[in-house]
């Protein structure tokens, strides 16, 4: 795989993705500091932004594209723990804890990412109390998401988990206004890596959901035909 190409870096002050990020309320002097020091890189589909076990050297902020964050199990099976979209920040946990990355971040499509050096990030963090609060808040949200996945994995049957995975994707990336397809293309294997099941079972359950007219396939995309029925499939007891 070739190295990602370097292209001209957009400034943080005029970044369109900033309003969705933890840097949204940051004052211009701090933004300038971050903007001047960052590198800007493009990643093709399947390329890693950072890998599990490697040392953190900076903070990543997604400018455009989509990223999956995943861990490798002992049996070699991947588990997707979360997704990221433009404005989302990655790699802050390893920086905060001082440990190596405990997961891998991989581009799901062509993705542009800004990387702020560790030293500049800590310098800005020291002088910006609201940023440290936003990072704690983001950590708390990540924790709630991971706990929800634990409950899903421990208490739900495979059909419910796959429906949950589709809802998680549609909540994160949204549905297309024109045709209600989920705004992300994932392979069946990747969907099985969210739900913690085999690819074969995922194919079977997706086919069942299609037969029941809850979803449909449009090329590589999944269209949600009946959102309420999908919710019901994910949480049949409610």
């Amino acid at each position: 795989m070739k190295n990602p190409k370097k292209i001209e870096s957009p400034s943080c002050q005029s970044c369109v993705s900033r309003e969705n990020s933890m840097f949204c309320s940051m004052a211009h002097p701090d933004l300038g500091k971050l903007s001047d020091s960052k590198s800007f890189t493009s990643y093709r589909k399947g390329q890693s932004v950072f890998t599990e076990g490697s040392q953190p050297f900076g903070l990543f902020c997604i400018y455009s594209g989509k990223v999956k964050v995943h861990k490798l199990g002992d049996d070699g099976k991947e588990q997707i723990v979360r997704f990221a979209k433009p404005g989302n920040v990655l790699g802050y946990r390893a920086l905060m804890s001082g440990d190596n990355y405990n997961a891998t971040a991989t581009a799901l499509e062509e993705t542009y990412v800004c990387c702020f050096p560790k030293s500049v990030y800590f310098e800005v963090l020291k002088s910006n109390a609201s940023l440290s609060f936003l990072i704690i808040k983001q950590l708390a949200e990540d924790l709630r998401g991971a706990e929800k996945m634990i409950i899903s994995m421990a208490q739900k049957h495979v059909r419910e988990r796959i429906a949950d995975a589709l809802l998680m994707l549609s909540n994160c990336y949204g549905l297309s206004v024109t045709d209600s397809t989920i705004n992300a293309i994932l392979t069946r294997e990747e969907i099985s890596d969210i739900a913690g099941t085999s690819t074969e079972t995922t194919i079977r359950v997706l086919s069942d959901l299609k037969k029941e007219k809850i979803i449909n396939f449009v090329g590589k995309k999944i269209r949600v035909l009946n959102q309420q029925a999908l919710q019901q499939s994910a949480n049949p007891l409610t």
Partner: protein
Amino acid sequence: MKTNSFLEPLSETEEIFNLQQCFAEQGRALVSVRTNQKLIKKSDGFDGVLHITSGKVKIVQDAGKARETIIWIAHSGDLIGLEELLTGQLFTFDAIAMTPDVNGTFISKSRMNSITEGTPFLSMTIAKMICSRLDSVETRLTSIAGKRIEKHFAELLIELISAEFETIKNGLQPGYTIKDMAGLMGTSKAYLYKVIAHLVKRDIVKVVNKKLEIRNSDLLKRIADGELIE
């Protein structure tokens, strides 16, 4: 607990001590509780955090049919309700005392804000606490998703006895009930008993008076490492 570059002047001990001291000074003491008492109920509007100073508290999600999933176990120094406070959501689990010696201080949202604003390094300490919990939740998630239940159980037992155990005549006894261990694994007690029965046959564990005893921790480690799967 590790420190980041700008926290280096503070030693690990000072950091923890200050956290405990700040919370204890500004919090409100809890009355003592009994085992299995619900400290916080699901959907409680819990406008603050509970700082545990002694004992163990399980944070559980009830799955009905007498089955529960333990999300995590809070020990001395842990903060319950922190993520709800930060995300502004209701408490979605039950917090239940596991031991009779649970004690702690309740810290209201406004007090919590004044503590963190008045002592900025505490924000970092709190961030690190959440990072550590997040690491453990994600590792568990990967473990539940990809492992055979026997391997997962062996791994849990090794983890539990490395943290807390009682030495008995013929082995070790983890400080958790079989029901709690089923909750930690996200399985039913009945199913866990089936797994235990298989381990009992190989004389790796034994159940005496409803308590699990580990007779052969070496074999258990080999199962956890995936070397000994039948």
